[in-house]
Subunit: 363 residues, 2 copies
């Protein structure tokens, strides 16, 4: 499509703004009046005709106002809003809240998702950062007796992942016994991957074998893990939107979000790198049909090539993209920074993480 004239762009901007905030199709006369434009409504109509021919806006029916199309939103985002940022006071307030919470991933995620929901008035989602290493390798494991027949296995991998599971053993288990196994096996298991661990397990007997097998099992899980946990917040906002008035649409939306279909539909179209790169998918731009009714603003966060999580905003196609992009960018930068501090100082880091321009560099 060719570049629009200055005035057409201005017009498109107004239409998007007005439609997003009011939810009703916007007409020429109303636009002239409420924005005190210096041209008549007839001129606006002519220009609107242009925009419609360019496929940027659409009318739901004759004699209704115009509504932005997916392409219209796209043009708006690409060329009309630049790189939106939150106001500095807002950034400060968010930063301040993050400083309150202790140095724990859980808390950060929780805070990120609620902040984002509040800031955008839409549903926000976040996933835990996932280590990108192809194969998990043992760093260290520990056995803790919980009950006579129950043992807790805590497995720490070289990728800084911690995984725990309960083992049930038919005989009584004592702490010294566990200590002995742990002492004997930790050395041969160091640096071992799932396949190796399974091989090692085959040579063991009794409880030690159960432990070794369980380690192999956990490693396999870490390698093949696809079920990333999705946290979300702000569902109550979305349900207020007229788009979800009928129980039908609302039900589908909730199902998508909670049933887990959302992530698997979204992930294929998200570029994992570079982090903090905000990506927007509007309506039919989404690959998966199930996402067509929605607008999505996401960014990945984390340490380059190593740990990557997802943070984003989900709502009806009619959503405040400018604000959402700004918020997602800032939150993702913040999360990258925090995760970088947690993982960044590690020896296995090969490339240092460079904070993006939206990352707070002083506090």
């Amino acid at each position: 499509m060719d570049r629009l004239t200055e005035r057409q762009e201005q017009l498109l901007r107004l239409i998007v703004h007005e439609y997003v905030s009011s939810g009703r199709a916007v007409g020429s006369k109303m636009l002239v009046e409420s924005y005190h434009l210096s041209v008549s409504s007839a001129t606006i109509r002519n220009e609107m005709g242009e925009l419609e021919r360019a496929g940027l806006i659409d009318q739901p029916h004759t004699s209704a106002g115009r509504v932005p199309t997916d392409r219209g939103y796209r043009y708006y985002i690409e060329r009309l809003i630049g790189e939106p940022r939150l106001s500095s006071t807002e950034e400060m307030m968010i930063r301040h809240q993050f400083r309150q919470v202790e140095m724990q991933l859980e808390g950060w995620m929780q805070l990120a998702v609620t902040t984002l929901a509040r800031s955008t008035g839409n549903v926000s989602v976040v996933t835990a950062p996932r280590v990108q290493a192809q194969t998990a390798r043992v760093k260290h494991f520990e056995l803790v007796g919980i009950q006579d027949h129950v043992v807790l296995l805590v497995l720490v991998t070289q990728e800084s992942g911690v995984k725990q599971s309960f083992l049930h053993w038919h005989d009584m288990v004592t702490q010294p016994q566990l200590r002995a196994i742990s002492d004997r096996l930790n050395t041969p298991f160091a640096g071992v991957n799932a396949a190796d661990a399974a091989a090692l397990a085959a040579r063991e007997e009794g409880l030690a074998r159960l432990v070794a097998e369980s380690i192999a099992e956990r490693l396999r899980e870490l390698d093949t893990e696809t079920s990333v946990e999705l946290q979300h917040a702000g569902l109550e906002h979305a349900l207020q939107q007229p788009e979800f008035a009928g129980g039908q649409a609302a039900g589908q939306f909730v199902e998508l979000l909670r049933g887990g279909g959302f992530l698997s539909a979204l992930l294929p179209q998200v570029q994992p790198e570079p982090a903090d790169n905000v990506q927007v998918f509007i309506g039919t731009e989404n690959i998966a049909d199930s996402l067509h009714p929605y607008g999505i603003v996401v960014a990945t966060y984390g340490v380059r090539h190593e740990v990557i999580g997802l943070v984003g905003v989900l709502g009806p196609r009619r959503m405040p993209y400018e604000r959402s992009i700004g918020s997602v960018r800032y939150i993702s930068g913040l999360m990258s920074d925090l995760v970088g501090r947690l993982y960044g100082a590690e020896p296995f880091t090969t490339e240092p993480y460079t904070p993006g321009r939206n990352t707070p560099d002083h506090d």
Copy 2:
């Protein structure tokens, strides 16, 4: 209120059934026709007048049919449905599903909540069983080096609770160093409660002090822990209900459920013991105003006096109480049984857990 006549009870039963399934106020003529009653609609009207005078049913407006009041539902539950059970094939299918899942609390809870939601067509909730001991005492702790400056503390209490937290230390930490601390402190800390732990911590220095303080902190958390996690499922069902048509009501509902206000509103009115005792709260019977619009069917599950969790169904006042009670009772019995197996064989158990009559005793 005095006992109703046989026919009045039958009538109330029909009204409840009809209203719950149709959602529309039920009138005399319609009742006579669709249930082929052997009396005329006029007689029904007279009887309905009685029921209305007794406060069991109500008409939303003149010339509308009747709708059960909270007291009407209460009467229905107390005297008209006995002790509802699921069909044996249904119980079998549920039991079968539980057998598929591994011996892990997480999985059980997940399964319980989804099964209950599907079975009742409403929102279901479940909390993890919480140990009832007044003061948590250390059984054993373990330190695992995660990174140079990060240590994972795994604390096991005598009540079989496992709690973990990350410690950040300004200097580099090695595994032998951790081993030394763990060896030295595990003995004096055995059986210690929060206050004692804090006292012991005061005598330590450096990293050991950090560890000891963190243990004391965790114990204190276990003692005062009020924020029980609530899992829920079946939100999509509830949103289909006409009661939640407007975004307003739906938003409040979601907020209640996810904002955590629900549990703190519910808990004060739930009797924790005995387990598997199904309790029903209808509309204004709920103490908290925020719960007035809803009907709630809950039971506690777990081991007597020791570990207690909550499982239940939440929906609009118009909900299938009979079915919900049956489902909740069965699921709670199942969960009690499972938790009993996990905790029951423990030495700290003083009274053996006796499975209720709804507990599967053969499999």
